[in-house]
């Protein structure tokens, strides 16, 4: 439950003490000054929590998720504009402010449109219904004789008889309620009496609109979280243990006394420095002498990580999803194909290390955060600092990239704690090593798959089993200090949620079993290798294995990989997505791959997956250099079906981002560590894709299904990419790489073997 119900006008009163160089957008300020009738509480059952009409008839939509740069806010504005019948340009979307928006779960699981947008769509539809009702009264004409065009309600056949939204309600509250399912976060749902439009009536949804904010970014004018300045603030840097699992014995504050105004703060194992000037804080963090307890060695070596996972005791799992009798079928099989795949630990390594600005007073608190979960972060910071929840205000400001539970959530809590300790507003930005070495990691895992074939080569048994670190060693929501470094360093005991995953596809094998289990964290607290959500959590990992294995079975039975998939898929949408990618790529079955001449071998690979209703199929063409082992994913063809498409051009760019980031993770990314520390601390030690590695082309086929509720586009194409690359490498070389990243070194070794 989110008990936060402070009225917005109180926010204006209480936040007056804080001088911030940020200003709310003009439209919001105007919306806030609406006063007639008093602002209803900010609860999801109030229409005013979602939609405001300004005196000039412009509309403000309050969105309790946020856009991390993919343009979700544009889609939300489209959906609201559509239902209200106002021009797209007249809708402004306010996001990520705990005093202005309900907790819809923040950016999460590609549900911005799927869940977040549906709430706004329903609210906007209800607002239109109420406005037309009022218009009917005002014009003394029955509602069914009215139509709306860009916020003007007019009598059908007599357009001069009209009234505008602004005239009817501009600057006032609706004071009307919605049905609410009493849930917060992603599942939050609201509905009014109004029915949203039929897709056949759409004028705005389904069209492409650009992101206005992009011009601000490109012209260097956008204020990022790193650019927020608060009067009287100090700059802070944190001091993380040099080796994992060892705490400080003593801190020698005199070691930084030559730096003007620099101080060290410490609570239990948490250490930070502050200084009035940023560069001085950076220097103080380098100069501060801390004596640390002798290192312990909590980690296996990198080389033995997956062996560790294989052997480690299970801490829990899920009863496998079972169809038929897999064991019996395997026993009776004419032939069994088996393979095992490994995925490494990976870092979010956001473009900039996280930053947060906090002003924690004895009775109130303000937090500026770049985290995807400002509402939950507010809750966590309230618990950590003792500021009552209703007096804690968090505001999200765009940050340096976010792909799940990166370092931003830790930065919020660190900043809040430091501000409380020094009694001043604090701006904390991590250094690069804090961001790369200490963010929660995408979990490593071992994936084992077996298939039983009958004498004709039909698959009669399929068995898939995953084992790895939980995807929620620390929770993706930042509700509780136990899930943050500041909390764990000051004595909160972590408690992991045990969660892993099985493949999402619809192959109809007669006997099929998919299961998983988790192994415990390598270090039980303050671990730089703690695991958490990383874009499409476990999606890339799981489907690298499962879709590589499908390719192995196809090859083992002498079938074409596309033909093989179509043989076992029956669901029409799943069949359609596979065909769409194959058609677009001009896929034709062939008996012998054309491996090219000279040093470069070429090949193509196929992969298909589902994610919460979104279907993706990918064809990848690669070039593999015999001498260097370099793999270039030269071309991708992506077929994408996420139901109803709101903004096609925006979706294409989002898909490209998924493909590139997934390519980077597949070919290059692996967290380096040794027995006592993480050695990936920057871009040299955690390399990612460079522009030389960008494909020559990405062809995208969007399948639009206006009649199917929209599902997400922010992540699903991530999971389809890794196996498409690996399968193309096999096609090019005849060699199967089963361990990510598929580095030149591994490629060369495999070619030599």
């Amino acid at each position: 439950m989110d008990p936060f119900t402070i009225a917005r006008r109180d926010f204006l009163k209480t936040s007056g003490a804080l001088v911030v160089t940020l200003s709310l957008p003009a439209a919001v300020t105007t919306a806030l000054s609406q006063s007639a009738g008093g602002k209803p509480p900010l609860t999801p059952d109030q229409l005013d929590s979602w939609i405001a009409v300004l005196p000039n008839g412009n509309v403000t939509a309050y969105f309790g998720k946020m856009d991390m740069g993919q343009g979700v806010d544009v889609a939300i504005a489209q959906m609201v504009a559509e239902e209200l019948d106002v021009a797209f340009e007249r809708v402004e979307v306010v996001m990520g402010d705990t005093l202005l928006t309900c907790n819809q779960g923040g950016a999460s699981g590609s549900t911005g449109i799927q869940f977040g947008g549906i709430a706004l769509r329903n609210a906007a539809a209800e607002a239109r219904r109420l406005l037309v009702e009022r218009g009917a009264e005002r014009l003394a004409v029955p509602a069914d004789q009215l139509s709306v065009d860009n916020g003007v309600i007019m009598v059908t056949g007599n357009p001069r008889q009209k009234v505008t939204y602004g005239e009817l309600i501009g600057g006032q509250y609706f004071q009307s309620t919605l049905d609410w399912n009493k849930r917060y976060g992603n599942p939050l749902a609201v509905k009014g009496k109004a029915q949203p439009k039929q897709p056949s009536e759409y004028k705005v949804v389904g069209k492409s609109f650009p992101q206005k904010i992009i011009a601000e970014k490109v012209m260097g004018r956008l204020q990022y979280i790193t650019d927020v300045k608060v009067e009287g603030m100090l700059h802070a840097r944190v001091i993380r243990p040099p080796t994992a699992g060892c705490g400080p014995v003593s801190v020698d504050e005199s070691s930084i006394k030559s730096i003007p105004g620099a101080r060290a703060v410490r609570v239990k194992e948490f250490i930070a420095v502050v200084a009035p000037r940023e560069w001085d804080a950076v220097r103080a963090a380098e100069m501060l002498k801390v004596t640390w307890a002798p290192p312990c060695t909590p980690f296996p070596t990198m080389e033995t990580l997956h062996d560790h996972i294989r052997k480690a005791k299970s801490i829990g799992g899920e009863t496998p999803i079972n169809k038929g009798d897999v064991e019996a079928a395997l026993k009776g099989a004419h032939r069994v194909i088996e393979a095992e795949y490994e995925w490494p630990l990976q870092s979010h390594a956001s473009m900039g290390p996280a930053c947060a600005i906090a002003d924690i007073k004895s009775d109130s608190g303000m937090l500026f955060t770049g985290s995807q979960k400002p509402h939950y972060g507010r809750n966590g910071c309230s618990k950590l600092t003792g500021v009552p929840l209703e007096k804690m205000h968090a505001k999200w400001i765009p940050g340096p990239g976010s792909y799940g539970r990166n370092d931003a959530g830790d930065a919020s809590h660190d900043a809040a704690l430091i501000s409380k300790l020094v009694g001043r507003p604090v701006r904390l930005q991590y250094m690069r090593h804090d961001g790369t070495a200490w963010d929660p990691k995408g979990p490593a895992g071992v994936y084992r798959a077996r298939a039983g074939l009958d004498a004709e080569g039909n698959v009669i048994a399929y068995d898939f089993f995953a084992k790895g670190f939980s995807r929620q060693d620390v929770s993706q929501i930042e509700n509780d200090p136990k899930d943050t470094l500041a909390g764990q360093l000051t004595g909160y005991a972590p408690k992991a949620t045990i969660l892993f995953q099985t493949p999402a596809e619809k192959y109809e094998f007669a006997n099929k079993r998919c299961g998983w289990e988790c192994v415990g964290p390598l270090l039980d607290r303050v671990s730089p290798l703690r695991t958490g959500h990383f874009r499409d959590p476990l999606g890339a990992e799981t489907h690298f294995a499962s879709e590589s294995f499908i390719d192995e079975i196809a090859h083992g039975t002498g079938a074409d990989p596309v033909e093989f998939r179509l043989k076992y898929l029956k669901d029409p949408r799943h069949v359609a997505i596979v065909k769409a990618a194959a058609d677009k790529a001009g896929w034709t079955p062939r008996s012998n791959p054309d491996r090219g001449k000279g040093d470069d071998m070429t090949g193509r690979g196929f992969s298909y997956t589902e994610r919460n209703g979104t279907l993706v199929a990918v064809v990848c063409e690669v070039e593999v250099n015999r001498k260097t082992g370099r793999v270039w994913a030269k071309k991708f063809t992506v077929a994408h079906d996420c139901g109803q498409i709101i903004n096609p051009a925006g979706l294409r760019i989002v898909i490209e981002g998924n493909v590139l980031q997934a390519t980077s993770r597949t070919l290059f990314e692996e967290v380096q560590f040794d027995a006592d520390r993480v050695k990936s601390v920057d871009w040299a030690t955690y390399p990612i894709l460079e522009i030389a590695d960008a494909p020559q082309a990405i062809d995208i086929v969007l399948i639009n299904r206006p009649e199917v509720a929209p599902s997400g586009g922010g992540e699903p194409s991530t999971r389809t990419v890794p196996a498409a690359i690996a399968n193309a490498i096999f096609d090019a070389t005849g060699v199967r790489l089963r361990k990510v990243p598929l580095t030149p070194q591994r490629m060369k070794e495999a070619l030599r073997a």
Binding site: Q211, Q223, Y224, T226, A349, I691
Partner: protein, 153 residues
């Protein structure tokens, strides 16, 4: 120590440790927030500015070494009314996701096109080597640079 330099066409004086990186002088002393701290190790490009026209990683450039020089940041490259062609192309192609990397790509591409207005695809990729974009907007970046080429032509 006082360091005098010209930033985005205006004279500026920074009173700081000459060893302090230019990035902090721009962001903290001169209020020019557009160059970003990405790594502080010359590995990503998020802090790129032009120093006397040369794309330079301001996170490792001592402010003292820029005395008397001309520094241009991304916000000084063009104006809202008259964006630099590279900026106009980046907007038209809707390049950035988070946008935190942009200083590197835009400032490096602008210098490339000044020195070579008709680069080949390979030359573009070579000139932009070493820059990072964690969001994976590389395809749009390449499209935008090519678009800028046609705009300049």
């Amino acid at each position: 120590m006082k360091v005098n330099l010209v930033v985005n066409g205006k004279h500026a004086t920074v009173d700081a440790d000459p060893a302090m990186p230019l990035l902090y002088a721009l962001r903290d002393d001169l209020g020019l927030n557009n160059p970003k701290f990405g790594c502080g190790r010359a590995q990503c490009g998020a802090c790129t500015v032009h120093v006397n026209g040369v794309p330079t990683r301001s996170c490792v450039t001592p402010v003292g070494s820029t005395a008397g020089k001309n520094v241009t940041t991304m916000s000084g490259l063009g104006t809202a009314e008259k964006p630099h062609p590279v900026q106009a192309a980046f907007i038209a192609e809707q390049v950035p996701q988070c946008g935190y990397c942009l200083n590197g790509w835009v400032m490096t591409a602008a210098a490339l096109l000044r020195d070579n207005p008709t680069p080949s695809d390979a030359q573009i990729r070579t000139a932009l080597a070493g820059l990072k974009c964690r969001c994976g907007t590389h395809m749009a970046i390449l499209r935008a640079v090519k678009r800028a080429v046609t705009m300049i032509a």
